[in-house]
Every structure is written in structure tokens, then in C-alpha cells.
């Protein structure tokens, strides 16, 4: 029984030690995160219900939102919203549809030939490097999705601002901090 208990305690320790103001699970990587949940991708097995949170976009460390620059909205014309939730671990549903429309705008639409920058952000829990890594992971996952929809990676820049601009002080605020901003590159 002891062998079953210890890993749970160790993971809890890692969560706590990662945090500045509260628990934040470690980054997901291919080797660090056990697959869990029915789809094997969205909810790591080690995430407790309390960490999963009451709403879809606030519970997962990979969840957040995408915010699209007004210049892109005006140019593309057919993007229905500038702000929508997504999960960087598995972009699907409405987020996939919207990013697909964004990719089309740059591949065959009004912004053919234009470049964009994807800026990832994290909530303020965790160290500076850790939050930069989270932001890069979020921006990179969106870039990867757009690339799969035909947008050349050479036309996309990714960067992370970590928690530099984070303002949240509770779970609701942190969920707003976790985001990817899409800007038209000058």
C-alpha cells in the first residue's frame, strides 16, 4: 500500500512547491504527464477534482482563452468572436472551428502573405521560468494547430510573456490570465 501512496504525496509536493499563491500542476510534456480521462488527453490522471475546478476553462492548467487582435478581425471579416476558450492540450470543438477560420484567412483569405504573432500568457502562480514555459507551450500549441491547417510556421512567431501581465488573485482571475493573444505582425 505504501508504494501506492508515495507517488501521490510526491506529486502533491511538486504542486505546492511550484506555486507562488496556490497549487499549479507541472507542465505537460510527452514524458511527464500520464494520460488520463476517457479521451486520454484532456484531463491528467493526477488532477484531483478540486484542481479540475468547477468550469472547463478554469480547471485545467492547459485551459485558457484565445484573443484575436482587432486588426485581424477587421481584415478577416468572417471571424465571429475575438475571445474564446480553448485547451492547449487538445484544441477541438468551437476553438478548432474558430482557429480553422483564422488559418483560412491567412492561407486563402484577405491576409494571404501576412504574418502573425502568438503571445502566450500564464497566471501568476509559479516561478518566472515556469510561467514563461507555460506561455510558450500555449502559444506553440496554437501555432501547431494553425500549421496543421496550412499556415506556414515561417509566417508565425511565438513568444511567451509568462505571468508578466497577470492580474488574477483567485481562480476566476487566473483563468483570464491564461491566454494566447493573436496579433498581426508588422
Amino acid at each position: 500500500m505504501r508504494s501506492l501512496i508515495v507517488p501521490v504525496l510526491v506529486l502533491s509536493s511538486a504542486f505546492l512547491m511550484a506555486c507562488e499563491e496556490g497549487p499549479k500542476p507541472p507542465l505537460k510534456t510527452a514524458h511527464s504527464v500520464p494520460r488520463g480521462g476517457a479521451d486520454g488527453a484532456t484531463t491528467p490522471a493526477w488532477m484531483t477534482p478540486a484542481q479540475a475546478g468547477p468550469r472547463g476553462d478554469t480547471g485545467s492548467p492547459t485551459a485558457g482563452s484565445i484573443q484575436i487582435d482587432n486588426r485581424i478581425l477587421r481584415a478577416c471579416g468572417n471571424l465571429p468572436t475575438a475571445h474564446f476558450p480553448f485547451d492547449s492540450a487538445s484544441i477541438k470543438g468551437d476553438a478548432a472551428d474558430l482557429l480553422g477560420a483564422l488559418a483560412s484567412c491567412f492561407v486563402t483569405g484577405p491576409l494571404v502573405g501576412a504574418r502573425l504573432n502568438l503571445v502566450g500568457h500564464a497566471d501568476p502562480r509559479g516561478g518566472v521560468a515556469y510561467n514563461i514555459a507555460l506561455g510558450q507551450q500555449r502559444a506553440g500549441s496554437v501555432a501547431s494547430f494553425l500549421a496543421q491547417r496550412g499556415l506556414s510556421e515561417t509566417r508565425m512567431g511565438t513568444l511567451s510573456k509568462g505571468a508578466f501581465e497577470a492580474a488574477g488573485t483567485d481562480e476566476n482571475g487566473w483563468s483570464l490570465d491564461r491566454k494566447v493573444e493573436v496579433y498581426l505582425a508588422d
Binding site: S13, M17, H31, V128, G140, T158, D186
Partner: protein, 472 residues
Amino acid sequence: MRLTTSVLGASSLLALFALASLAALAAPSAHANPLGNVPPEAPAAPAAGADKPTDLLGTMTVVASSARALPKLGVVPSLSADLEDVTLRGVVRRDLDLCGEFDVLAESAAPDGLYLSDSAVDTKAWGHKGAEAVIRVIARRTGDKPEDEVELVGQAYLVKSGATPVFEKKVMASRAAVRTASHRMADVLIGALTGQNGGFASRMTFAAGAEKVRRVYVIDADGHGARAASAESEVALGPAFGKSEELYYASSTGNAQYEIRSESGKDYPLPVSGSVYGVAFSKDRSKVAVSIGIGASIRLFAGADFASIAPASNAPFAMEPTFSPGGKLAFVGLGLTGQRIYVDEKPVTPEGVFAMSPTFCNHPDGVRLVFAAGVSTDADLFATGEQGGTLVRLTQDQGKNSAPSCSPDGRLVAFFSTRKTGEGPGLYIMRADGLRPKRISPLMGDSLRWDALPPDVSIKAAPAAQSSHDPG
């Protein structure tokens, strides 16, 4: 730079090293927990039964205001109001206090006396005040014109050796360089009393910001002269002093990818496309390492210069690179259950500990790896061997302590602290064994680096002095 020193008789030197030995006795090895409660060898994996993070990291209690006895040191006061003299005395006195090797007597504790520039030092009277050694420094203008140089004199006396200085140094400096020359003077006086020069002729750099503004800053090792080194219009991070002793950092303007930029405004394109999150240079500047965000990960590259970097690690999210004094490349990367510090690709911090911000102290007792680790909702500083091993806790119960960086002489660690007790939050320096933390600035930030100043051509040997020793 060539500095001229008069080293006095052999008997005085013996006395000098006797004091140095005393200082060494008072200064415990960085390898030992100062309170004798040394945690066991760092486990390769978390110990079974570790039911809270602190169990992984040891439970010693650091007493910041430790009463450990250090050699008492007097600094001769002066009635001179000359700016250069006031600067020299102020800088040297503060450096001697900050270095953590001495208990510097308060000016109010100085024995009665005239304290003119040509007054003899009454070592006997200082001895009655408890001092074991006395430092006197004097700065004199050589003329009234702005371009006239200033002569700086530093002397060290041992109380038991009487009124003859056991060490003396004279240098000439331009007026603009008096402050830097004062730090160099403090360093050699520390060297005269401990056997190794101090590290205050140096500067630190760090990143800080609020909301959308984030800049890199440079500050003197005593907290003086903080200034922004990047423009407000750019987002700047990961600063490091590098080739040609310039300041390099990652810069993003207009939400474009971070690129390497130097303080002079020059950009350095890389053969690898991506956002730069950190840069490090080896001590001799012959190697450079760069963390670059590529896709959804961050990879580490290294080479002789920016143009020739190649992959240096397979670790995902390899960040905060730094080089050991011997050229080993350390960085932070993801472990199975947290963030670990790697040295030449080998993890050296325990799995399960959330480690960050590695720095190497080239301490006289041996190279030490110092790093921060998350503990509950705070962070603390720890030391271990260059390749890992026994962990020594340097801070505890003093808020979040982060971004450590070692002094050029390896005996001090600078770090940011959110502590609310004592001197409050800000930039601190403390001995490498965790004792005598002192705040040098209320500024807060991250990504701290501490490097020696390059030689200053405006500081040179005084012409009339003997040239018998160049302490560097």
C-alpha cells in the same frame, strides 16, 4: 589595471594571516550547515514518507540575525567634507560591512580623537573598543581643476601590531571613477584581512516590471546607482553580461519574438528561429548558451558565439542557463514531477523538488551550486555541490527568496526576498552559508546576475608608491 601596493614587513604579514585565520574560524565552511543540523544526502528520488515539501529539503532553521562572532573591525572616521573622501570612506565602510567577514564597529564607537588626515591611528585605543583590526582610507584631490586626479589611500592595521599599517595601497583615479576605485580599494582591503580579495568592484543585472512594462536594470553591488538598461518600449528579460563586457538580454518589441540585443542597441540574429528566453556566458566569455522557444517547447543551444550555437540538451523547457567557473553548463529543465537543475545534462537536484535559478559560487572552500526551490507557497535558497550531493538550506521562514546569484569572489549570494520582517522586501546579499543577510535595495525583480566590473583605465597606480604586489 595595475595597482600599486606597499606590503610591509614579514612579521606584520604573519599577524595579518593570523587575523585571516581568525576570520576563517569565524566563517564556517559553506559545506556545513551553520547550525550543525546537516540534512542527509540528497536522495535521488523523494524519500518514502515525505509528507510535505519541506521534508525533502531539510528542516534547519536559519537565524538571520545570528550572533556568530566575527572579527571586530574599526574604520577610522574623518572630519573631511571633501566629496571624494566622503565617497571613499562611505563605500569602503559599507563594503566591509556587507562582505560578511567582519563586525564593523559603528562610527559612534570610535575612540575619541582628532581624526585629521595626518593623525596617527591609535590602535591601542581601538583595541580598547574591541577592534582587532582597523582600516583607514583617505582621498585627496591633486588639484582644483575638474580634470585633476584624486589619490586614494587604503591602510590596514592590526591592533596587536601597533601603529604601523600592515598593508597599504595607493591609487590614482579620475574624479568620475572615485566610486569604482573605492570599491576596488575595499576589495583589496578585504583581501588583506582575509587572504582573498572581495567582490564589490562589480555590478548586478536583473529584470523587473509591472503590467506591460518590463525592463532590465543594472545596479552596483552595494545597491547604488540602479538604472534601466533597456527601453520602456520593449519587453526585456534574461539579462547577462557577456562578450566585451556588454549587457545582453532578450528583447521583444510590438509582440514580435524575443531577440538578443545588447545595451548598445545592437541585435544579434541567431541561426535558430524562435523566441530567446535566456542567455549565459562562460566566465572567460568563450562560450555562450541560449534558451530558445521553438514550437511548444524551449530548447537549449550553446556554442562559441551566437552564430555557431548548436543543440546542447534534449531536456524539454531548458531555461535559465548558467556556466560553472570551470565551464560546466547548468540549466533548469522539467523532471518527472517538478523542475530540476541539470549540470552538463545530469540532474543534480532531487526529483520532486521544484528547483529554479541555478548559480555557482566559486567559494574558497570549493564550488557550490546555489538555487531556489519552491516550498509550500514560498521559495527558499539552497546550496549543494557543483554536481549535487548534500543540500544545505540557506533561507527559511523569510518570505519568498528567489533568483540567487553569487558574487565574483564566491563568498556572497545576492537574491530577491519578499520578507516582511527585518529590513523588508528587496534585493539582499548574504554570506554563502546563509548568514548575515543585508538588504542593499528595496527593488524587486528576477533573473539576477552578478559579475565583476571590467578593468577601468581611469584608475591606475599612484606614481610614488612601490610596485610590489598587484592584487588584480
